[in-house]
Symmetry: C2
Subunit: 216 residues, 2 copies
């Protein structure tokens, strides 16, 4: 059964693949699962039909027959559990891959996402510079820890997993900040993720939505 | 094999069960798995022996033979997957329980945790009131969505699951804020979680660490 996901009709990231549908598209491409996309406007996201799928009124959602999921991490996990390719078979290695999924979303992403929000919403506030500086300190601390752990490995724990997929999408938000460049092994890690054929297909697909909306 | 977890030698929450070892203790109690606890000081958390277990230098960690995990969400998931009682057998219901685990940690917890940090770290800043007000607005928005979805159900999706366990630990941080009281069904939901025998055993165990440290 072909699943349907939702994505922004007009993504605020201007097609840079930073919206959270990108993770789900990439996971689906990695496992070779075709999918449909339903685009939703910011207005429609707050209406009852969408809230029935996603109580917090966000994207992405995932519909597959009777199953309805929200939360990009949970959707990627469901895809990884339902197909081969994103979680190791060995039980301990699998538990560690899940650990990196949670680490990406709960430990590494919060200060990185907050930085984006602050740059959009708090630029005119009196505390802007100080807040940004504090957040960038938190981000560097996390990146330093991650860089040390990664060392010269290709991926976080053995073969590429759903943990790497989420971590790369989290770190990509730092493109243009200069902060990734301070950790060459993390820059190279992100580049390895972006070089995967599945990433490129997912990126092109979400990019096409932006291009169509811009010229439509 | 009895797993060993780590917890704060002196928790900054003064024994209120808000540190993230509480989630792991509660999950272990729910499934009836005995465990050992190794207490770590703030200094020891940043030293190589602990960083080998937890690259970000935090608690809790989980050691079970050769398996070493960090991230409370991942540890709770591992416990839930290894024992009966915290995830439904039905595949769709199980995917939704995992969805609520991610929703608790990725959508509901961030503004609640930030509020605690701001109240500790930014109380003397000129922007304190405005920042706190903005965060409380974000929290109320999330609580409103969650309250609507929960309705008059006992738990988020059928029987009590690891999703409820994490959500209750996230919402407990609002005790004393008055915000939970604005959503009577969420207050009652948290109270149902806290009334579980496994919660009480976990709470007493972490409380005993604080009491011993205070009188020691």
């Amino acid at each position: 059964m072909t699943p349907t996901i939702t994505a922004f009709e007009r993504s605020p990231d201007r097609g840079r693949g930073l919206a959270r549908d990108m993770r789900v598209r990439w996971a689906l491409e990695e496992v070779g699962q075709p999918y449909e996309v339903r685009l939703v406007s910011f207005q429609a996201m707050k209406e009852p039909a969408h809230l029935a799928l996603h109580p917090f009124g966000q994207i992405p959602t995932y519909e597959e027959g009777d199953l309805v999921l929200f939360e990009s991490g949970a959707i990627v996990f469901h895809i990884a559990e339902s197909h081969a390719g994103l979680l190791p078979d060995d039980a301990h290695a699998r538990a560690r891959a899940v650990m990196w999924m949670f680490a990406a979303l709960d430990t590494v992403e919060p200060p990185i996402f907050d930085r984006t929000l602050v740059m959009i919403l708090e630029r005119k506030e009196p505390w802007y510079e100080q807040r940004l500086h504090a957040l960038e300190g938190s981000i560097r601390k996390r990146l330093g820890s991650l860089s040390t752990r990664l060392g010269d490995a290709e991926w976080l724990d053995g073969a590429f997993s759903a943990g790497d997929l989420l971590m790369v999408t989290v770190l990509r938000r730092l493109h243009g900040s200069g902060m990734l460049d301070e950790f060459p092994n993390l820059s190279a890690y992100v580049a390895r993720g972006e070089a995967r054929a599945a990433f490129k297909r997912a990126y092109a697909a979400q990019r096409a939505v932006f291009t169509a909306a811009s010229t439509g």
